[in-house]
């Protein structure tokens, strides 16, 4: 099975990954092969089976509502590619000419 290039484009859009046309072709094939392979699962009868969402076998904990010092803002911003006025700077959200 080969995925349609439309579907690959849709998925890469959701994942916010820029793909060029040759990438789309290649990935349509590769993902198609993997999806062919995983199709074996459709043969398994799981009608009476609950899903296992979690890795843990034991109960997990909550925490008390007690504060811990926050990071120094300089440390919070230290790895940021662009900073202004103590905040993370990003370029314009709407592209040039894009309507609101």
């Amino acid at each position: 099975m080969r995925l349609s290039t439309d579907l690959v484009a849709y998925v890469s859009d959701l994942a916010h990954l820029r793909l060029n046309m040759t990438d789309v072709e290649r990935i349509a094939n590769e993902l198609g092969r993997v999806l062919d392979y995983v199709d074996v699962l459709q043969a398994v009868d799981t009608s009476a089976v609950d899903a296992t969402w979690q890795g843990s076998r034991g109960p997990g904990g909550m925490r008390s509502d007690e504060e811990c010092p926050s990071l120094d803002p300089l440390a919070a911003l230290a790895n940021a590619p662009a900073v202004q006025n103590g905040m993370f700077r990003i370029p314009r959200i709407l592209a040039e000419g894009e309507d609101q």
Partner: protein, 486 residues
Amino acid sequence: MMGVPDYSAKGLADAVRSGQVSAESAMIGYLERIRATEPEVHALLAQDQDLALSRAQAVDRMPLDQRSQLALAGVPLVVKDNIVTEDFPTTAGSRMLEGFRSPYTATAVERAAAQGAIVLAKSNLDEFGMGSSTEHSAFGPTKNPWDLTRVPGGSSGGSAAAVAVGMAPLALGSDTGGSIRQPAAFCGIVGLKPTYGRVSRYGLIAYASSLDQIGPLARTVEDVGLLLQVISGQDVRDATSVENPVPDYLAQLKRPLEGLRVGMPKEYFGQGIDPKVRSVVEKMLDRLAAEGVTVVEIEMPHTRYAIATYYLIAPAEASSNLSRYDGIRYGFRAPATDLDSLYRNTRAQGMGEEVQRRILLGTHVLSAGYYDQYYVKAQKVRTLIRRDFDEAFQTVDLVVTPSAPDLPFVLGSRSDDPMQMYLSDICTVTANLAGLPALSVPAGFDDGLPIGMQWIGPAWSEDLLLRAGYMVEQMVERPRWPLWRT
């Protein structure tokens, strides 16, 4: 082999605690070893020799009553580079995080350091843990120390290779589908994936959250137990870590296992397993049987669905976990004049091909219209795989399989075919899907290449796994060090 630090972690810690050996002199030996081997093996991504030395000196200067409390006094530790550390950059093997400095340190590393371990380097890995050969590192592949033309396994290939050549006696790795056990097998050392929830994941850069677990790698079973002891236990910063007492893993280690019943699932010894691997593991089982271990053949019928299940669940969780790499708060940012291009270019340029492939696969299987067919289905089959184990442990104490279906393969030989690469996890993914502990221990050699066997136990049976591993270790004749450069 000159200048090889010939300590076990246990032996070194004992000697440093009592003052017989200075941590500094030991550290100097390991640093020399790194200088001699690293250029060819390329196991490491970051190291800090000055820091390591000054930490070692600090251990030596400690008052005796303090130092004698430290389980890992002065023991060098290599940390897989998807585990965050304040003292070293953390890249996860990705361009995306090149130069990233974490403002906090992972719990497992903190716990080891609190016991006197000294992190001297961060080790190479497949980008974000996604791979089985360490070829998918953005910073070049690691070589197998037993044969430099071959892969060390992955994704903890850097940790395994570093320990195998003696850069450090201990390493931390992470295991999502076999990433500790398979490279341990390929590099002729011991590696353990603990029960899910045994070791805190806080500070482990998430690949697939419900499968990931940090674990130890070392040259001996005892050292694996020693490091496991120190990093285990509930952590308030990880809600999936479990409040369950941590036993003394070394107390019973050397006691013979009388009447042990071992299950040999036929699904792991058939098609897809290299006959050389099979024969080494079977020979070891014969020898164990001669020692009084009962080996019975069992069935685990859902094993054949494991790879399919894994390659739906892991990419799905990964696609979500890796969305945070968006070029806004940290890491790589591609030049862009608007937000949308910033996102798309940053992620396309910052992440490697295999990572993108898994993100796209994972995004697809979670997307509207496919979720039930793929993701929910896989999580249900996962339940069946768990049940196979639960049933097996009704009749046997432990399950034995090969650690990997084949011998270390030649670099570059599998990179064109993702599906082929995925199949190399066939022996290991089930323990992750079932959340169970599993140990890989060397079982023998074939033509100079190491072969590992895997022991899988019920939840929280790490102590039993270590005892079984210790028993095997005593029977294996192996070269003390990789022979490529004596």
